[in-house]
């Protein structure tokens, strides 16, 4: 079966479902239907990929692949209510094991795109790692074909690895963004513009494209520059930033410990 002959149905119309469906559609893959409890989102997505809007999960008919792309804690519920006789049923979650789908559907798998998605920002998936897993070789081969249509980076990994990958992603994306947020608050709270930090943010992200983060570490903690650490603590204390101070201390300690152990 060539990839253009594969048909998909989507359950879900959030950020991941939207970006996946649009990218597959743009490669000539048929999206048969979209179901989502959020009717407005569902209709918007379905329209943009020329698919039928379904108003109930029972109506999801067989497509070659049914893609469940809903919040992690809703996947089980979708699986319980989904009827399928012959489709390959996959979810797109990092943290959810294969067995949540394979417990009910013989032909099942996982198609996890490792990226952060917003609906408003269309993402080209070409360089996005697609992590795939399936119950058998046939299903795996279908997922390989499918993901190769939109991405150059396909990885076969198991549920345990995927969970750790998801955890690592939280550190390098959600937690990193929270550090940006702390920086934002500190500069704007002192009459300065967040613009000033942007070249630094770019350079730090650019550096780990070229070298291991361990070797890219700079700053007062890794230098054990106790005077500067003390001054930073004073600044946070003066501003009554108790929680940021706690965070500052724990990350600083962690950096010092890590380099002491080397």
């Amino acid at each position: 079966m060539t990839v253009n002959k594969i048909s998909l149905s989507f359950v879900g119309s959030g950020n991941v479902a939207t970006q996946l469906a649009r990218n597959f559609f743009s490669k000539g893959i048929e999206i048969k239907s979209v179901f989502s409890p959020n009717y407005e989102n569902c209709r918007a997505l379905a329209e943009s990929v020329d698919a039928e809007v379904l108003t109930s999960i029972e109506k999801v008919g067989d497509a070659d692949v049914i893609v469940i792309s809903v919040p992690d804690d809703k996947i089980e519920n979708v699986v319980d209510n989904l009827h399928s006789t012959g489709s390959l049923v996959v979810h797109t979650s990092g943290i959810t094991p294969l067995d949540v789908v394979s417990g009910k559907f013989k032909k099942s798998g996982v198609l996890y795109p490792l990226q952060t998605f917003s609906k408003s920002k269309n993402i080209n998936l070409e360089n996005v790692p697609f992590c795939i897993e399936a119950t058998d070789e046939n299903c795996l081969s279908t997922l390989k074909k499918l993901s190769s249509a939109v991405s150059k980076k396909i990885y076969e990994i198991d549920s345990n690895q995927r969970a750790y990958l998801h955890l690592a992603a939280v550190f390098v994306s959600n937690f990193v963004n929270f550090m940006y947020s702390a920086g934002y608050d500190i500069v704007t709270g002192n009459g300065l513009d967040f613009e000033m930090l942007k070249p630094l943010i770019k350079e730090v992200a650019g550096k780990v494209m070229l070298m291991e983060p361990l070797k890219a570490q700079t700053g007062p903690a890794v230098r054990k520059d106790m005077r500067t650490l003390e001054k930073h603590r004073d600044l946070l204390q003066k501003n009554g930033e108790k929680k940021l101070l706690e965070l500052y201390n724990l990350i600083t300690e962690s950096i010092i410990r890590k380099y002491d152990e080397l």
Copy 2:
């Protein structure tokens, strides 16, 4: 005085001194001399910018501007030992107040380039924010001219703002890099390649160029997805990652609290 007529002497031959001296030199600014206790570094830098190598700080003669670019805790010592009759004496530190130089030298200032520097990676300073401060308008004007020769982004800020800026920089660079490091350890410890995380790292850094970090926050903490948070904690516990678990919990709590307060 046009900028090409300004002459500089450097005290220090580390990453910041090296990048500054090379960039000024490339714009036709004369580097008279370099002094640094590390003779090898000193000679290497001096050679690359056509400057005299000095072997003792007492030999630093008058240039229009003497740039002290040494580790923060060495600045006072340099100031104590430096003889100058007419030079504008500046340091390049974020966290060090102006008065460390202005206490001794009437013509003094600060020239703080907000970026992370390595000796091995030459950085174009064009987009690097230069934060300047000085004891009088004349000195400030010289620093403006000088920094405008290499950068388009000049900010006049005082010592207190600069200290907070430096603190914010630690969050968005050193702490961010440590998050990359944690991600690196988690993936490589589970048979996965750090390459997989790179598109995500790029996207997250790219996002805050376009929107406030507060609005860019995603992930299980801001969604209050307690099941995923619990699974992540289990993964860290299973791997005996006590310190990472502590970090995970504190940052997660901080994210939840921040969005609760909005």
